[in-house]
Symmetry: C2
Subunit: 98 residues, 2 copies
């Protein structure tokens, strides 16, 4: 059963800044290069009910593809070098068909 992995987040960078755009672009480039990542989307979060501003969403065919992504060096490296210093707040959700 496929799994939609999502994270909603807010950056330390100002809205509309070059740093924001570069983070989103690099996130897409880095994460979509990891085997098993499909249907990758960067979306803007616009509900006033949340103070988080962006979402990364991707789909894995199964849990083993998801596990391989989590431990892939490109993912681990992105989290350490970019996510931790540049993301101010975030919330993960993973969705499967009811």
């Amino acid at each position: 059963m496929s799994i939609q992995h999502t994270v909603v987040f807010r950056l330390v960078h100002a809205a509309g800044s070059a740093e924001e755009a570069e983070f989103l672009d690099t996130g897409r480039t880095t994460l979509t290069a990891i085997p098993g990542v499909t249907d990758f989307h960067v979306s803007r979060q616009v509900s006033a009910e949340s103070d988080l501003a962006w979402q990364f969403s991707m789909v894995f065919a199964d849990q083993s593809a998801y596990d391989a992504y989590n431990t892939h060096p490109a993912h681990v490296g992105f989290v350490q070098s970019r996510w931790v210093p540049e993301v101010e707040a975030f919330q993960e959700y993973d969705f499967v068909t009811r």
Copy 2:
């Protein structure tokens, strides 16, 4: 620009209970009957990073379709009669293309 409206939530009902299934079924039936609601999905939230258990997701073609849904009597009635008494916690997010 289309808008994906989502809400992640936890019910007062026990996991796997008939009350849980009935709430999810009635939510689907009630909300999909409202004009402008498209691509409606009920998903199970499975990340251990969140204690919310379900997601309703739907897509509106534009803000005016979303506004009409928000004020539609079937939506307002569902919120008052079912959502408020049966939902223990929730978080809304709305997504648009970056």
